[in-house]
């Protein structure tokens, strides 16, 4: 996969996903050492190009790059490039002239990583674009589920919340269905996008029904600012209809695990104690994020055709 972009899970093959997950499992061992660094990407440059602030994802990539001995450069672009009369692609080309080996792109608008990948020589990893995809989050979610359950094939996964505006939902839908899981989505009808079932999922508007017999419950973060757009009336109403607590979780399988991409709005998507304790695995997700991103950097960083044959 060297030199290949990772723009979304939609275009990954099943065996590629499995290779990434398997590689990530090996990378986890490095995180258990005293010396948490290997020389693999020594002399390589990883650039974090974040147009939208995201401390968690950026830090996770930074740690991953540093554990592989790469030089990690944070190239933060505060607001829209338009304000500087510099087009988005100008920014990308400027960056490319600095010869990065991989560029991590985060942007609040869907499609920007792809447009940047179109003009960049270096491979691009999408670190979240609008409501499109967040492939590394989905991969670390799959890794977490796999390690909890020992398999993904045949599991039932429920994703709950604002599916319409969620990149995490889309990437997980593609990923889990590719690996043979059954995926369900649920939320208020205003949060379910049109034709969502075309992506291979079943949509529900009842928490009780969607949870029935599921192995994995994934709650999405509710953006309070969405209330202004009128897609849900109040936080109180949301948490009473789609917020998870231990009582509601009884509809799921007894061994079901609870996930959340973070940061959690406590008392909204998840009750306070569910956010902190089993069966929630939220901190495992974070931990796995580093190993997963190390795996991706290992597999992807570099130009497609290295000239430096030694």
């Amino acid at each position: 996969m060297i030199g290949q972009d990772l723009l979304g899970i939609e275009h990954l093959e099943r065996d590629q996903i499995e290779l990434i997950l398997e590689t990530a499992e090996h990378m986890q061992e490095i995180g258990t050492r005293d010396v948490k660094k290997v020389p693999t990407l020594r002399g390589r440059m990883v650039v974090n190009l974040f147009f939208e602030p995201s401390t968690r994802t950026q830090t996770s990539f930074e740690i991953a790059g540093k554990r592989l001995a790469a030089d990690v450069v944070n190239f933060s672009v505060s607001s829209s490039s338009l304000s500087k009369r510099e087009s988005l692609l100008d920014t990308a080309k400027t960056l490319d002239a600095m010869d990065p080996d991989v560029v991590i792109v985060r942007h609040k608008v869907a499609g920007v990583p792809q447009r940047i990948a179109d003009v960049l020589d270096a491979p691009v990893i999408n670190a979240g674009d609008g409501a499109h995809e967040h492939p590394t989050q989905a991969l670390l979610d799959m890794l977490t589920v796999f390690q909890e359950k020992g398999r993904i094939e045949g599991l039932t996964v429920a994703i709950i919340g604002d599916i319409a505006h969620s990149r995490v939902a889309r990437s997980n839908i593609y990923g889990f269905t590719k690996l043979g899981a059954e995926v369900r989505v649920a939320g208020p009808p205003t949060m379910l996008p049109p034709h969502i079932e075309d992506l291979g999922v079943k949509a529900y508007s009842s928490l009780r029904e969607v949870l029935d017999g599921v192995d994995v419950v994934m709650a999405l973060r509710i953006q309070n600012e969405r209330m202004g757009g009128g897609i849900f009336p109040s936080v109180r109403e949301y948490s009473s209809t789609f917020g998870l607590d231990r009582a509601k979780l009884r509809f799921a399988r007894p061994d079901a695990i609870v996930m959340h991409p973070g940061p959690v709005n406590r008392g909204v998507e998840l009750s306070h104690d569910l956010a902190d304790h089993r069966p929630s695995v939220i901190l495992d997700q974070v931990r796995n994020g580093v190993a997963l991103r190390m795996a991706l950097l290992y597999l992807i960083a570099g130009r497609a055709f290295p000239q430096n044959q030694e």
């Binding site: 996969m1 060297i2 065996d15 660094k37 020389p39 290992y298």
Partner: protein, 242 residues
Amino acid sequence: MAPPRTTSPDSSSPPEGAKSASSAAMSPDAGVPLASSTASAVDQSRERVVLDDTKIRRALMRMAHEIVESNTDLGALYLVAIPNGGVPLARCLAANLESLAECQPRMGTMDTTLYRDDLAARGTRPRLRTTEMPSSVDESVVILVEDVVSTGRTIRAAMDALMDFGRPRSVKVMALVDRGHRELPIKIDYVGKNIPTQPGESVVFRAKPYDKSEEELFEVVVQGLDDSPPDLERTKKSGGFV
């Protein structure tokens, strides 16, 4: 840590003979060879067995004797297997040491892939293999266990990796086969057999399971590859267990 892995075909399509070897008997990621470029070039008809199971086990017993003779502090021994081939060899060696001297050396498995010096020059990334070092190597006498040594580059990578697990008192190398063509100043302390080869040939160690038991059948074969020019992979070593 060896979690259950997703079932997937190896993307790197290893040589056929090597792929079937030992995968059932070894760690979950066994049977995933590094050398993919040799796959199409291997001609099974030009493969000859140079060491059979009996000879290999005899050599392992002899090397166990040598280890006992040359080490006064057997309690400090730490066998570090380089996967995949080193793993069954280290297991057998440990059993021999126990029967000879009632010593139970510490055991570890250490993948050297992330320390390789040829990663930048390759078009694809090798699959990673298990690293499992249950305890620190501080003050121990480490014996790196490898199936076939040639250029010495894997041993070089292994020594780098080892330093990330502590500061051993000393490091020694055991190889079942030394096939020559050294490119680095690496000395093998315990050698099963020297097998001089042409650069175009490759030497493969296999551990095949049989009789559904834990027992494995060992063999070392030489594969002729004289049609194609030697490259990094082939001179490096086998297709099966690098």
